[in-house]
């Protein structure tokens, strides 16, 4: 396992994730945006692997990269959106103001990170590997049990709601 070369892996994966993220925003055609989103998800999963969160990385691959983004790509491919490609970014003072605003927010966050004493204090915990899955499960079913049950109700609601929203009159079968 790539524990010793985690730094090199972080830079490579981080660069790939950032470039794919910029690709999501900047690409004109929504299909390319969706495929760049897939690359971002895979890059973030790789970063979770370097952070020794193996279970979360696998779940990110299964749930995000394997299901949610497939849904996005399928919806974008089903509706041919080439007409909307030209109206991707409007020009003018509105756009510039929004970009400057986001730049200010980014600057504030970065200065907060660098001025704080976060990076200097702790050593990462070694051995937060396979045994952590069991501990995560124990915590999930004892301390966070209420959130867990609420999330399952939320999933049920979303399934019923999504089917109800996207249904066509008369249904698909006779």
């Amino acid at each position: 396992m790539m524990i010793n070369s985690a730094e090199v892996l972080f830079y490579i994966l981080g660069l790939m994730t950032l470039i794919a993220g910029v690709g999501v925003v900047a690409m004109q055609n929504p299909i390319y945006s969706a495929l760049c989103l897939v690359m971002t998800m895979i890059g973030i999963s790789g970063l979770f692997f370097t952070l020794e969160a193996y279970f979360v990385a696998g779940v990110q691959l299964i749930v995000y990269a394997g299901a949610v983004t497939v849904l996005f790509v399928m919806v974008v491919m089903l509706f041919d959106l080439r007409k909307e490609v030209s109206s991707a970014l409007g020009g003018g003072i509105n756009t510039a103001a929004k970009a400057v605003g986001v730049g200010i927010i980014l600057g504030l966050i970065l200065s907060a990170i660098s001025l704080s004493k976060l990076g200097t204090s702790t050593m990462p915990l070694k051995g937060l590997g396979a045994s952590s899955i069991k501990e995560v499960a124990v915590q999930l079913f004892t301390k966070y049990i209420f959130g867990f049950e609420i999330i399952s109700v939320l999933l049920l609601l979303v399934v019923v709601g999504a089917v109800g929203l996207a249904r066509s009159r008369g249904g698909t079968h006779a």
Binding site: M1, M2, I31, L35, V38, I42, S45, Y54, F55, A57, G58, V59, Q60, L61, I62, A65, G66, A67, V70, V73, M74, M77, L78, G129, A130, I133, T172, H173
Partner: protein, 387 residues
């Protein structure tokens, strides 16, 4: 990857061998498919090129490579050329984390005037402690090759075929994942090597904290999870787009589905990906339900002793012989399942699309959830009603 040069070299060679193994199994599988289907259909298959027609696919590969390589006029080049690659990569990644055999223990030895220490080499590409989650995640990335091929071909029928096929794949991933959840509940670990080592010995049932040993049967997973085996077996057909679930290719219905506009070497890469998925699925079937590399009624220790007597008490060579014996056992099981895949393909008719989606959502999903609940209840009872 390793502490010193020898270990790193052996690990890199191991990964290459695993990848090449996947690529080289394809000619054998295609030969098996063509001859096997021919015998099922009461005709001869290709039997002219080489003995028994074994080098037919060599001739086919030369033909594919020499074919004209074209790009349809309105096709999107990046997606069109990238789709076969994306079909091949997830299968190769998933095959790399499957344990094929017992680990090889190398005792310290002398070479080139330097003492190389004791090593343990696992017979897999790399050792993952969350093996099954990783395999599930990487296999679900195979849906993108279909979508990229369907869109990149700029062809209405390809797009329809690709959308139907990817909808089928993500629907059956649910039943697959839930069947795997039941197996993980049973063995209590995500690590595939540990699941294999939990299946050794004779069949042992625990009920109310007493043990019942049935010594004529091995301790394989299929005796604990029969319903799960049926569900998993059906889902992997849908995952690798094999008949009876092959709406993606549906020869004769959708022209040729998502790979209509592909010819020559690119189509060969698609089939390599499909056979790679088949190999991963067969290996998972062998590991979860048929004891992995274990041979019934033989323990690893007895095989190791036999190998020691054969090798003149040298532990390194004995360890290698033991690994080879168990590797052969594992490959026999995988070959059996691959033959099942081919057999079912030429026996059952294809599902209609709405029947297929109904089966996936309305039948397999409830039965998978029932399987999990049943497994959990029985495991709870087995430890003696202690909370």
């Amino acid at each position: 990857m390793g502490r010193d040069t020898f270990e790193i070299t052996v690990n890199v060679v191991k990964m290459l061998v695993v990848f090449l193994m996947m690529v080289q199994m394809v000619p054998i599988l295609v030969w098996l498919e063509r001859r096997g289907s021919a015998f099922i259909q009461h005709r001869f298959g290709p039997n002219r090129v080489g003995p028994l027609g074994l080098t037919q696919l060599l001739a086919d590969a030369v033909k594919f490579i020499c074919k004209e390589e074209f790009l349809p006029q309105k096709a999107v080049a990046l997606l069109y050329y990238g789709a076969p690659v994306v079909a091949l990569v997830p299968a190769a990644l998933a095959l790399a984390s499957i344990p094929f055999s017992t680990p090889v223990e190398v005792s310290p030895f002398e070479m080139l005037g330097q003492a190389w220490g004791p090593y343990t080499f696992y017979i897999q590409g790399f050792h993952m402690n969350v093996g099954i989650i990783y395999i599930l995640g990487v296999s679900s990335l195979g849906a993108y090759s279909l979508l990229m091929a369907g869109w990149g071909s700029s062809n209405k029928y390809s797009l329809m075929g690709a959308l139907r096929a990817s909808a089928q794949m993500i629907s059956y991933e649910l039943a697959l994942g839930l069947a795997i959840v039941a197996v993980v509940l049973l063995y209590g670990t995500f690590d595939l090597a540990e699941m294999v080592s939990a299946q050794k010995g004779p069949l042992t049932f625990h009920m109310f904290s007493r043990e019942y040993v049935v010594s004529v049967l091995p301790n394989w997973g299929i005796f604990f999870q029969p319903l799960g085996f049926v569900l998993f077996f059906t889902s992997v057909f849908a995952e690798s787009n094999r008949l009876p679930f092959d709406l993606a290719e549906s020869e004769g219905e959708l022209v040729a589905g998502f790979h209509t506009e592909y010819g020559g070497f690119k189509m060969l890469l698609f089939f390599m990906g499909e056979y790679g998925h088949m190999m991963v699925s067969s290996s998972l079937l062998a590991i979860f339900y048929f004891g992995g590399h274990h041979i019934p009624f033989l323990t690893e220790a007895s095989v190791h002793d036999w190998a020691l007597s054969l090798a003149g008490q040298e532990t390194t060579v004995a360890s290698i012989i033991t690994s080879l014996v168990f590797l052969a056992s594992f490959l026999v099981k995988v070959a059996l399942f691959l033959w099942f895949f081919i057999w079912v393909r030429w026996t059952l008719p294809r599902f209609r699309y709405d029947h297929l989606m109904d089966l996936g959502w309305k039948t397999m999903l409830p039965w998978s959830i029932f399987n999990i609940i049943l497994t959990a209840v029985i495991l709870f009872l087995a430890q003696g009603l202690v909370l």
